[in-house]
């Protein structure tokens, strides 16, 4: 049956309309849960607020469990879902740069736009920095391209790279998530509380 658009159950023209609606809902929920506050995001690094870790990890685990149940019941064909290609070393370096930006600015790209939407000045400054970063990357792409393309592993997932059953990987990741939540609660209880 699913995915709905590739299988023609929803016309392909609806693609962007649905994307915009999901984007609006995503932005609204992020703002409603306080993710447009840079203090909340930076809290993960300082150990006083782990909401970001909990929310994003929970959403990933819930989504993967739901998708695989739907695949089991033939509602969705997992093999038809698009998997982003893995550029290993480019992703490692990019992740480190983003981590520094995340910690220094207190936003990730999505939450910075949420912050802009509610008029936060630090969010606006961050977004301008983000645009400058994108501009520099785009302009210097011809120089970076050999490195960028060098470690393209294709459309792989943990199932391909570990050669394990996806169900066991899901169980392991869920267990890691639950341990991480418990550990983050323990860290939070040890760290001095910050009110903001």
């Amino acid at each position: 049956m699913g995915p709905l658009i590739p299988n023609g159950l929803i016309p392909v023209e609806w693609n962007f309309v649905i994307a915009i609606l999901i984007g609006i809902a995503f932005g609204y929920i992020m703002e409603a849960t306080g993710f447009s506050s840079s203090r909340k995001l930076a809290g993960v690094f300082y150990g006083y607020d782990f909401a970001v870790l909990k929310v994003f990890f929970t959403s990933a685990v819930v989504a993967v469990i739901g998708l695989y149940y739907m695949d089991y019941l033939n509602f969705v064909d997992i093999s038809q879902l698009y998997v982003q290609p893995t550029y290993l070393w480019a992703a490692v370096i990019g992740g480190m740069i983003m981590g520094v930006g995340f910690l220094a600015g207190g936003f990730c790209p999505g939450t910075s736009l949420c912050a802009v939407a509610i008029g936060k000045i630090d969010g606006m400054v961050f977004t301008v920095g983000l645009m400058i970063g994108i501009f520099i990357f785009s302009e210097s792409f011809s120089v970076l391209e050999p490195f960028f393309e060098s470690s393209n592993l294709g459309h792989i997932t943990l199932v391909d790279s570990l050669g394990m059953s996806p169900y066991w990987i899901i169980l392991i990741i869920t267990s890691i998530a639950l341990v991480a939540f418990a550990f983050s609660d323990w860290v939070r209880s040890k760290v001095k509380k910050v009110f903001y």
Binding site: T58, V61, V62, I65, Y68, Y69, Y72, S165, Y167, W168, I170, L171, T174, S175, A177, L178, F181
Partner: protein, 218 residues
């Protein structure tokens, strides 16, 4: 403290543990669920409906018309053994037998939705085998030449002259088939064969008589 308040307090205190347990049990459920072989392609009901339907068949007349009009969406696939394919096939046909079905390079001819793929063999048999497999996997635009090359020969290459009592359409169809046959080179070979027998006849008459002698003797 009322009982209700106590249970509420318990729920509030333990809500994260309850939610974490549910999440873990759901993930465990995926591991413990009995696994089954997932079949690719269309569902069995649709497969049977398609198999019973004669919509997949294309007539030799329609195919000849499309070849003559140089239809760019036409892709001819000869499903006979390679030896027979090398001896004779339709113009621009590609040889893909059932055993080549999962050959990645050749399979790309079948698994696409740009061309109308016309499968043919001597009759319907080999072509239907390939069609069945393609139909099961949900390939689009697969057709079978009705009657195969045998039908092609008896209709396009060597059409039967209709009876006097037959309707006008039958004569028109005969004319079309004759003309199509000429397009495929029948006229050329006929004129040659018509000329040659005249000269050959004189030569052949003698051995024929010889042959008849032992036949008669038996």
């Amino acid at each position: 403290m009322s009982k209700r308040y106590k249970s509420k307090k318990f729920l509030v205190k333990t809500r994260y543990i309850i939610l974490a347990t549910i999440l873990f049990l759901l993930a465990l459920g995926l591991v413990l669920l009995p696994k089954y072989q997932k079949n690719e392609g269309i569902n069995p009901e649709l497969f049977v409906i398609n198999a019973v339907s004669t919509e997949r068949y294309i007539s030799t007349d329609l195919l000849a018309d499309r070849i003559i009009n140089q239809d760019p969406t036409l892709l001819l696939i000869d499903t006979r053994p390679e030896k027979e394919f090398n001896e004779f096939s339709l113009p621009n046909a590609v040889n893909i037998q059932l055993k080549d079905f999962f050959n990645e390079e050749l399979n790309s001819y079948l698994d696409q939705d740009v061309y109308d793929v016309i499968l043919f063999s001597n009759d319907n048999f080999y072509a239907n085998e390939v069609w069945m497999l393609g139909n099961r996997l949900g390939y689009k635009n697969l057709f079978v030449l009705k009657g195969g090359l045998n039908e092609w020969f008896s209709t396009i290459i060597n059409p039967k002259y209709p009876d006097e009592t037959m309707p006008r359409e039958a004569f028109e169809l005969y004319d079309f088939r004759k003309a199509a046959g000429m397009y495929f080179g029948v006229g050329v070979t006929k004129t040659k064969s018509e000329e040659k027998p005249k000269s050959k006849k004189k030569v052949i008459t003698a051995p024929k008589k010889k042959k008849r002698v032992p036949e008669g003797g038996c």
